[in-house]
């Protein structure tokens, strides 16, 4: 077990040392004479079901399979387990099972992947059952000891009480006996109205070490005898490494080895990373850039623009009526073309992983959003079977979707494999990180709206042209070639459904996949679809001579949940009362990741190009709110991420390479540019929606619509810096 999350007031650092290296599978099976097997954690404490370990001092260790990357799921998931477990929250700590342990135990902890705002919503059911199962076993153990029926016993705060006799005991005291019991086949979960811990804004469990420098991220991993590697992959995606002149850096300080990494990259391994990086900079490298070196942002834009034409093939994602015919016969038509660029995740901590390879074992320490995918990458790159591999997860210095990919893990193993017995930490420079992202996909969108003579919207044709993430990363998930995720926010139904009723609707996607590798970037396709749709909604409202909010409301009668969040922001921002002098408002709504969200912004604009954002209001209906304090932080954070991309982001391509190389060319918002986000939570219950991503969708369109209100100018492409629009 990789214990790294200290209890709230425990300042003990997570120390990775020889113990962790040699420990391997820390879980032990303890089979007493004839009895059922007791599974023990590394410290010998018994498991009460797979999700809970109870120590003699009543400390409860909750297993977390998903990854913590700042989004707070570690705390939220622990709350879900603890709610049913009825344990003392102040004695809760958490640990990550390793993917190797999970595989060895038939995936007892389920899915490890942490993306798509799925951490809580996809595991809430079985983790709550895990807590309930342990509670039933602990109560049963106490009842057995007292020789009373379990039904006469209750548990609260880790104390079990037998009311008729007034006896009490604690979880720690009965844990050994409970661990020997057979888990109940089925357990009943609490009615949400009885929740005490779920819904409470309890403090995160992982904060203290993040304020003292003690928290260990991948970049901080230290192993005995470890060396450090710096890498350069061919800057043109799809290109290859031709040659490098090792002799030129032979005498450089600290350099131990120069290694080829696959067909495309070269790494320098040295005593320190600084030495490795300095030598790598000096290493003459020749690339075989291939045909992709001819690709530029201009050539991509041209190719995507061609896909907007009706004559080109496209997949239909949502349709009713006959939009083309209705548009042809309409009294009035409105048309606009929008575009959205590549974006880099630019996690604060650049990609990195530490690998130790020996002939019969390969272990990796890294931050990953998907422990199991990282594990699969280790197997593949090392060539060793599952029982000889493992991945030890550490804290992520940001993920946002980037660390769901395993390219950096694979590279670390490929390097370590060339130095058996020596642990090697591979760290990407920020420049490497900018050059080898898995970018938010590039798209354009042509929208045509049509009105009848009474200014009723009778048709909408939404035609996307551009890149599919699934085509590149999960081709098996394509449906007859179509990428269903491309329609996030404008889909017919599901967890990202369109929120308007238009009598004649056609939503389609001309898939065009440039060579730049796409990835899941916080909010994924909701980002551009919400900008396109919500800014165009404003254009339609204007064409109809109607208020943007009223215009939307009229189309949302059949979408009460979409409408409720829109109404919530409208009320909070005071849509029906005039904005302060010189201040203008914009509004937007979308559904994504199972949650309904809306946003509104108040901005002022000087000289037509200097924006000051005064207020942001956001609302979300995620069904249930597990931790309102963390929801508030995720919503605010999603606006910082989304507005950074709107104002400063955008990755461009020249000669097949990404042009932006660091935060000087790919800037991010600072504190002076960001107002407080006022979050309105309107959980309506009965479903579980995600939190980390959905609200990013409304960040940009709310501000762009406010910009139009202020200036009368429509901005139809991102980033704003390309149009010399910036923060005041």
């Amino acid at each position: 077990m990789n214990k790294h999350i200290s209890p709230r007031l425990n300042r003990r650092a997570f120390v990775i040392g020889t113990a962790a290296v040699g420990a391997g599978l820390a879980i032990g099976l303890d089979i007493p004479f004839g009895g059922p097997a007791v599974v023990r954690a590394a410290d010998g404490s018994p498991e009460i079901g797979a999700w809970v370990v109870v120590r003699p001092d009543d400390t409860v260790v909750i297993r977390i399979a998903r990854s913590e990357m700042g989004q707070g799921s570690l705390t939220g998931l622990a709350q879900l387990v603890a709610e049913e477990l009825e344990c003392d929250w102040t004695k809760v700590t958490t640990e990550y099972p390793t993917p190797g342990q999970s595989v060895a135990r038939k995936r007892v902890w389920g899915d490890f992947s942490t993306g798509g705002s799925r951490g809580i919503r996809s595991s809430q059911d079985y983790v709550r059952k895990g807590g309930a199962t342990a509670r039933v076993m602990l109560i049963q153990a106490a009842a057995d000891a007292w020789k009373v029926p379990a039904s006469e016993c209750t548990a609260a705060n880790s104390v079990i009480t037998h009311a008729p006799s007034g006896r009490t005991t604690t979880y720690g005291k009965v844990a050994e006996a409970a661990a020997k019991l057979t888990p109940p086949a089925d357990v009943k979960l609490k009615d949400p109205k009885d929740w005490k811990l779920i819904g409470k804004g309890v403090k995160r469990l992982d904060t203290v070490d993040k304020t003292t420098g003690a928290m260990i991220y991948g970049v901080d991993v230290k192993l005995p005898g470890m060396l450090n590697a710096a890498i350069k992959d061919c800057p043109v995606f799809g290109g290859k490494l031709k040659s490098f002149d090792e002799a030129k850096i032979a005498g450089m300080k600290g350099v131990k080895k120069v290694v080829k990494v696959g067909d495309t990259a070269v790494a320098v391994v040295a005593d320190t990373w600084w030495h490795a990086k300095t030598a790598l900079e000096a290493l003459p490298i020749v690339w075989d850039e291939g045909d992709n070196a001819k690709v530029s942002s201009e050539s991509i834009a041209k190719w995507l623009a061609e896909g907007l034409a009706d004559a080109q093939p496209a997949y239909v994602g949502n349709k009713n009526g006959d939009a083309k015919a209705a548009i042809a016969g309409a009294a009035k038509k409105v048309e606009a073309i929008y575009s959205y660029p590549y974006q880099n995740h630019a996690t604060m901590e650049p990609m990195n992983a530490t690998a130790l390879y020996t002939a019969d074992k390969c272990e990796v320490w890294c931050g990953t959003q998907n422990g199991e995918a990282a594990f699969a990458a280790v197997l593949e790159a090392s060539g060793l079977p599952a029982e000889k591999c493992d991945v030890h997860k550490v804290m992520l210095g940001g993920g946002f979707g980037r660390r769901g990919q395993t390219d950096y893990v694979r590279q670390a193993v490929m390097i370590a494999k060339q130095m058996p017995g020596t642990p090697v930490k591979l760290l990407w420079s920020r420049e490497e990180d900018m050059a080898h992202g898995r970018y938010h996909p590039i798209t354009q969108c042509k929208m045509t709206g049509a009105f009848d003579a009474n200014n009723n919207l009778i048709a909408l044709h939404y035609r996307l042209s551009g890149q599919s993430i699934l085509f590149s990363l999960r081709p098996e998930a394509l449906q007859n070639g179509m990428d269903p995720v491309a329609f996030q926010g404008v889909a017919q139904s599901g967890d990202a459904a369109f929120g308007y009723s238009v009598p004649n609707l056609l939503v389609e996607h001309a898939m065009r996949n440039p060579h730049v590798p796409p990835g899941f970037w916080r909010g994924v396709n909701v980002n551009h679809n919400a900008i396109y749709m919500e800014c165009f909604m404003d254009e339609l409202a204007q064409a109809a001579g109607q208020d943007p909010l009223e215009f939307r409301r009229k189309l949302m009668g059949n979408h009460p949940k979409h409408l409720a969040v829109l109404n919530a922001v409208a009320e909070k921002i005071g849509w029906n009362t005039p904005a302060p002098q010189g201040v203008y408002r914009g509004i937007a709504q979308v559904m994504g990741y199972g949650s309904y969200v809306a946003g509104a912004a108040e901005i002022s604009v000087t000289d037509g190009s200097k924006i000051k954002v005064h207020r942001i209001v956001a609302s979300t209906d995620p069904g249930y709110v597990v931790n309102p304090a963390q929801v508030e932080r995720q919503v605010a954070g999603s606006f910082v991420y989304g507005l950074s991309a709107l104002f400063y982001g955008g990755c461009t391509v020249k000669d097949g390479k990404i042009e932006q190389s660091n935060f000087d060319t790919y800037n991010s918002m600072r504190i002076n540019e960001m107002p407080k986000v006022e979050t309105v939570m309107v959980p309506s219950g009965g479903f579980w929606g995600g939190v980390g991503e959905p609200t990013i969708g409304v960040a940009a369109p709310a501000v762009l619509n406010a910009y139009f209100a202020a200036t009368g100018k429509r901005v139809r492409s991102v980033p704003l810096r390309d149009q010399n629009i910036t923060f005041a």
Binding site: T211, T212, A214, T272, A629, Y641
Partner: protein, 149 residues
């Protein structure tokens, strides 16, 4: 070889004079609380105090730092007593991923040293660290909480 005084201790480190202080701190002194984010003095993740002033350690060479008093996030607390900024960060649950927070905390501690009751405008001017998770409003609230204590 260089002599660096970090968190009250003078260390003799096997490091070239032109090495960025950040890497001497992380790799030679072994103090990994100070983070690498950009290496070009843009993000602030590597912020430390040099003679009490917040500086981005990736942009300072070891030779420039010799003879100066360097404080890293590990040296901010006095023994077991956390610095008031750390306390406020815990009370306010400021960090998300936390990667930028060592630098953020060092920048804020220096600001409060200079201006114990900073205005919003003071904060806007002095705190220019990048936080990709977007913790700015908690950062601001925590600073005001300290200032009004």
């Amino acid at each position: 070889m260089a002599n660096l005084t970090i968190n009250g201790k003078t260390l003799t480190l096997d490091v070239e004079p032109d090495t960025p202080l950040l890497w001497a701190i992380r790799e030679n002194a072994g103090l990994t609380g100070t983070k690498y984010g950009c290496g070009i003095a843009q993000c602030g993740a590597c912020t430390v105090h040099i003679d009490g002033v917040a500086m981005r350690s990736c942009g300072i060479s070891v030779s420039e730092a010799e003879g100066k008093k360097i404080t890293t996030i590990e040296g901010l607390a006095s023994g077991d007593t956390l610095h008031k900024v750390q306390d406020a960060w815990i009370a306010q649950d400021v960090p998300q991923c936390g990667y930028c927070q060592s630098g953020m905390i060092m920048a804020v501690a220096a600001l409060l040293n200079e201006k114990p009751k900073p205005t919003d405008a003071d904060i806007d001017e002095a705190i220019t660290n990048i936080c990709r998770c977007g913790t700015f409003q908690q950062v601001r609230e925590a600073i005001h909480t300290i200032a009004s204590a």
